[in-house]
Symmetry: C2
Subunit: 236 residues, 2 copies
DNA sequence: AACCCTACCTAACAAATGTTAGGTAGGAAG
DNA sequence: CTTCCTACCTAACATTTGTTAGGTAGGGTT
């Protein structure tokens, strides 16, 4: 199928989120026991969901722990039962944003290798699938990816250090895709990385003006962007 | 000094900056009297220059009045002799950012009307000139325009209300340009406004990855972006 | 029963925030 | 010399900030 469509924001790539940091134990216990305890992870997710939304439209620095807590329905001090610091919350959100994008990219690549795209005939279709996947990440995973795109630039250095490597590796995937397309001759541009970065900037800007509930669907948007990129519209 | 290279920061659109707010009198006195008093306006500019740079890389909320003051070399309280509030400083910066872009756009339009662009033969050249002008605003006016692009999204509502109209009018200029190109047949795209917004997003993203001191000049970058937009690179 | 653990709360902390009131040095104007 | 204005300073203010320490209710286990 296409990339992730309507998955509930809560489910998704949750478990592997926290990476380093965090105090100690937490999850990783009794796997599959009928009904999982709703708390434990759910509380973390509730916090991140609300924090991501707040950070998306006010920015990191302008969002206080008390803002986040009251959005969740608890008191500020209680947040520290789930996260060690404000920065850890922020980092977790940005990490999750990237993870969503990486997962979306990889699922297209898997489709590709599984033969869903006929190499020679539809390099354009492959690019469209990737563009659609990236747009899907942006719009279907609520605040996580969008917050990543809009707030990364101003993130404190300590957050940057953790996020930049993941960001780079996502970018490397796109770079490899473009290399492949150019090498096989289906794409021919003068400056490959500039073409890629401009396309990227164009895609990321959509969160500031595109409304997926409007007349155009995300599929339409992906189509439009890719055919513009692929065929262009100049006639003089 | 360091920032903005060619055009002297002080000159430009300075006088009409403050709009509403501000206490009372200020400049507007003796016009052209040999050597202008270096203070009066210069202090405002020094403050805005430094504030813009700080806001560009830390964001509005994360930049304190004390940060700005110490960058300028004065104490926080003294800032209130020049600006009524932190938000007024922010608003002035964003306004100036837009003004620079509008001015750049208009100067291209004047060249166009003066016959520098041969309507029928070089619609592409006209677009290139506009793209070059926008990129110039982004890179040659230091933090003002760049800060506008990266921090507008998270600005407080009170700031939004003042800036949005100006922003819209700049966007309307581009929309009119695209309409014209499409109407005269030199541009043929399915969704005109999407093409425009994606191009815009692509251009604005350059401040995050393009280095004008690198191998490619701003002219080169404008060329690359426009030919990608105009001729594209798909071949399969 | 006793125990423990999770998830929360209250209350407070020091630090940093935007902002204001009042003072002062110095030059210009009378 | 006095007066006034500009540009700054000092010192404080009330609030908000991230964060911590210690307490408590409740369910699960033994």
């Amino acid at each position: 199928m296409t990339t992730m469509t309507s998955p509930p924001a809560t489910a998704s790539a949750a478990p592997a989120a926290s990476s380093a940091a965090s105090s100690g134990s937490s999850a990783a216990s009794l796997p599959a026991a009928g009904t999982q305890p709703p708390e434990a992870v759910e509380a973390r997710v509730r916090i991140l969901d609300n924090a991501a939304r707040l950070i998306l439209d006010k920015g990191f620095a302008a969002t206080s722990m008390r803002d986040i807590a009251s959005a969740v329905g608890i008191k500020a001090g209680s947040l520290y039962h789930h996260f060690a610091s404000k920065e850890e919350i922020f980092t977790a959100i940005l990490e999750r944003g990237i993870d969503v994008m990486v997962t979306a990219f990889e699922s297209v690549e898997n489709d590709d290798r599984a033969g869903a795209f006929d190499g020679a005939t539809s390099a354009e279709a492959l690019l469209r699938a990737h563009v659609r996947a990236h747009l899907g990440s942006l719009f279907e995973f609520g605040p996580y990816t969008a917050a990543h795109v809009t707030t990364f630039h101003n993130a404190p250095d300590s957050v940057h250090e953790i996020i930049v490597p993941r960001r780079d590796s996502y970018e490397a995937m796109w770079a490899a895709l473009f290399d492949r397309l150019q090498a096989q001759g289906s794409l021919r541009v003068d400056h490959l990385s500039i073409a890629r970065l401009v396309l990227f900037g164009g895609m990321n800007s959509t969160i500031e003006w595109f409304d997926p509930a409007g007349p155009l669907s995300l599929d339409d948007l992906a189509d439009t962007i890719v055919s513009q990129f692929w065929h262009a519209g100049g006639h003089a």
